[in-house]
Symmetry: C2
Subunit: 327 residues, 2 copies
Amino acid sequence: MEMLYCGICHSDVHLGLNHLGGTMYPIVPGHELVGKVVEIGSKVTKVKVGDNVGVGCVSDACLKCTSCDVGDEPYCLGGKSVHTYNDTKRYDHIGGNQETQTFGGYSGSNVLHEHFIIKLPDSIPLEKVGPIMCAGITMYDPLRHWGATAGKKMCIGIIGVGGLGSMGIKLSKALGHRVVAISTSVGKKDMAIAKGADAFVVSTDEASMATEASSCDLILNTVSADHEVAHYLSLLHRNGTIVQLGLVPTPHTISQVPLIFGRKSVTGSHIGGIKATEECLELCAKHNIVPDCETIKSDKIDWAWEQLQNNKDGIRYVIDITASKAL
Amino acid sequence: MEMLYCGICHSDVHLGLNHLGGTMYPIVPGHELVGKVVEIGSKVTKVKVGDNVGVGCVSDACLKCTSCDVGDEPYCLGGKSVHTYNDTKRYDHIGGNQETQTFGGYSGSNVLHEHFIIKLPDSIPLEKVGPIMCAGITMYDPLRHWGATAGKKMCIGIIGVGGLGSMGIKLSKALGHRVVAISTSVGKKDMAIAKGADAFVVSTDEASMATEASSCDLILNTVSADHEVAHYLSLLHRNGTIVQLGLVPTPHTISQVPLIFGRKSVTGSHIGGIKATEECLELCAKHNIVPDCETIKSDKIDWAWEQLQNNKDGIRYVIDITASKAL
């Protein structure tokens, strides 16, 4: 695929600057790839030359295990899924490039197995698709797994109103649910309501928390800073589930008493698989859901990374690769 | 109802001796009641005089809320469910007795609302029914809630091979599942296998734990002593759920990383409702599942309470009320 756009994710910053350790330099970040098919192998049937396509966070997996079988490639049990960049090519699926490590979408082209290529719906502007395959699917997959795409009306809580939370609010509203946005900062209220939230809770304010006590069937928690998940259990209805999405390394302190007396669950979710990503894109196309994006050229990547570290306004930055080539 | 038998539960010991605080003396313990209907109100349709009936841990609730509506009376939201003993009568459902607090089954008779009376299947010996309505339903309800009664074959882990665990093994086997019994004590192995477990894991032995790594779809954890639930997460398969059943007051330390990368859930479950209890009794009747019981007279209650505090062999003690009256 020839690259056209690549979204910038906050994890690009973490991996690029080795915040978590384990970065394998040289690194080419980018797991929100949007481009055009320029060449296909003889066995490829999913796309043809000229198609607009996307690639998300996972670009290879064993394709043989029980996880891959049901479209949960990110949870591949056959030797782990392969991240689109900063990972080792573990399977023999991708010809063309001779590198042994994966390089991402801050690049001119990429060679991928058709299974991990997604044909893009026509109606979403190409410069806004990228973040759907990361932030979008991260929020859509837990909605799908915990019953929020099955037609039943629910009350969905979204903790954190950044890039992930914004998509969570929009997707949940498109699915017909009542949405409660939850943030430590009262200053996020207007933005959350503008994005579609029906109610807003300041999590540090006991009275505000009480207004939505026991209201949520499902809470998607995007907080990636240290926190105590137990703090949010009071917002869950009986049988409710809170899904942890941020890679918080510090453990939580959880009493089993509220879990028992409310049959409440604490769980987590990784990125979604290819089929779920296709569903998510269809939903976005149908409801005109796009991430709040700002398109930049490659000379502003450093600036964008700084913004991501300092601002939490839910704006996603997308690199215009074609325009960057002309710099 | 005229009382015939009443099972002795470990929580009778805790409440009787005020281990948890909050005991309202005078107390009449017993929430595993078995007896015969001797008189009915004019509007009663569920049972008739002469029927063998049982009553479990919950004997009243609002009967109007969304929990009661779906048969989850123990999770009543309309003012809380009423425990069969050591609780306050909060609703106007039970005539007859003039007490304002509930007294349990270590007694000659009891007056109850028909909703909370269960007509007993003929085929289970009356002296063995009681513990099914406590230990049995405590294990059956999470099996039911988390998909193990829907026909799909699963692998069920049961942590602890005491009174609850024994019923958990038997019920899971009756439902056609593979069962992994898990205990800190290697000495429980023969007993667990005899009760039907397919495999046995010593939870303090890393090599033993490794033999069942990622094998369980659902784990029912009956441990009521302090422990770390995170220790058992390695036994869960992707999308697996561990259900906490014991009232452990000390919190657990849980990292969200294994939850995220395996979509694993930590949850809890209270006693089941009336409809689930009826289903559990039907399953027990169909498969000849009975708790391992020893029948005693009332002069041996103190002794039985000592056994429950010192032994953990999965034996349940049942008071023969008729024989006790003759003492």
